[in-house]
Subunit: 329 residues, 2 copies
Amino acid sequence: MSAVSMVELWRGGLLESVHAGHAVVFGPAGILEAWGDPEAVIFPRSSCKMLQALPLMESGAADTAGLTDRQLALACASHQGAQIHTQAVSAWLTDLGLGEPDLRCGAHMPADRAANKLLTCSDTAPCQIHNNCSGKHAGFLTLTRHLHAGPDYVDLDHPVQKAVKTAFEEVTGETSPGHGIDGCSAPNFATTVTGLARAMAFFAAANPEGGIRDRAAAHLTRAMTAFPEMVAGEGRACTNLMRAMGGRVAVKTGAEAVFVAILPDQKLGIALKILDGATRASEAAITALLVKYGALDATHPMVGKYLTDPQKNWRGLTTGEMRLAPGFA
Amino acid sequence: MSAVSMVELWRGGLLESVHAGHAVVFGPAGILEAWGDPEAVIFPRSSCKMLQALPLMESGAADTAGLTDRQLALACASHQGAQIHTQAVSAWLTDLGLGEPDLRCGAHMPADRAANKLLTCSDTAPCQIHNNCSGKHAGFLTLTRHLHAGPDYVDLDHPVQKAVKTAFEEVTGETSPGHGIDGCSAPNFATTVTGLARAMAFFAAANPEGGIRDRAAAHLTRAMTAFPEMVAGEGRACTNLMRAMGGRVAVKTGAEAVFVAILPDQKLGIALKILDGATRASEAAITALLVKYGALDATHPMVGKYLTDPQKNWRGLTTGEMRLAPGFA
């Protein structure tokens, strides 16, 4: 694969580690800029949750259920299982007359420090509501009820996933070359980096007073940027970066180092994949592109946090720095 | 850098992520096999702790202090701060008439689950003894006392680090092109992948009844293989792999995905570096090379754990697999 170097780690004046990847910036006229192979096929993983939420909006299920923007942000989230997230998902399931056993995402320990400590120190096992995808799954269940469909909403031939696939292929502008089973057990459809960036550009240019799909996309972007803490959580990159951009831009990470951005002011969509799956590199790369395209102030502390601050060790000594590879961003 | 693909992650029949790197297998006659760039300069990080322990042995400091093989294994360790590790380091410091404040490694939370839980749930901060390098630093302090040198034993011009650099360059067979400050604040000397593999081959061929350096190297290898639980800890790759090989082979990991192996039976040394710093890939790559060179049974459960077992998600569903890249191992 013709991925190009994007992010470097230096120590003692020597190059220690390198992360390569693919990135595409997509605008109204098509590809504006690209690095690596724009046609590389990737799994968007959680970076495409706003695409997976389109049928929830377009079907009328969200309106019928009276979902708030805070809930819609959660439907697009990879949350860290903090109390604000788990309480919201629990209430959502209750409103649907459902419960935790109706989820199909599986359980894992929450990344949120306080929630994790609470479970750890009380020897309590996490439940499916703690899963970072439980908001997306609550959205799937909302659509499932609206469609009077069966309980196994993560099956590839379930009406919910069929609707997701159709929306995904229409917005990426590509026939998906295949799918995988995601960490949360839902199908995850593959696309090219260009397809994912094209989808983000559609969200960026979506007209809030336009057709059904435009209104759905604009609404989801608005929900994500209005409730950044629901999309990830305190201390997390998506939340930090959206706050740093004052609600003007939506960003979303995905497992294995995918990162996307929706820039409505510039009508731009960005998608990138670090080939080795390293989050430290996808966070640095999206930060660099957000700065380059004028969405993020180069002097903002979050640019330091994810890219320019010196690397320090356990005694606080500077050990090296992160650098953008020559030719990237 | 001309790193080559070594480890691939597949999902739904599609390639999702790739790890590239450099590897060298060094034997009595020189390089036996290599992938990527054998001359690539790397930081060995913690993979070279047995080299950093050579002056401790050769100076007579270890004998004078009456260090046991269990302590020598700890001097070469990146331990996970379990009780067996912290108790041993505490006792060692006490034997030296020193204490935790004399360490210069800094403090971090232990990786050991029980130790981590104990500190977390009692709101207790970790100390420098919990640092994964505290055994190496106890060794540095033992040599410092033997040399009647000053307390700042991690300074580049301290007698301990001067002795480490001399031994490091002699055993790697190269003049180090530079150094960095490691996570534990000690200098970490750079070398080529070939230099690191050459050093491991020296350890593999070292004669237990030979000269001072041969005896020191053979003794350190014997200590590591005799006490694998002291070199890392329960559940960790170094400990698991050394146990799987029945004490016949010493292996050691280093930060940013370096892994080395000492194979006395075959008189081979192995060194590898995954360019992106991913541990999952360095563990898979060293496992593959240990199998290829007859040190590890391909049917051993640890080969499954680090390489061949299916990748599963939170519900236990198979989502994909790890594969060796074409042409590697």
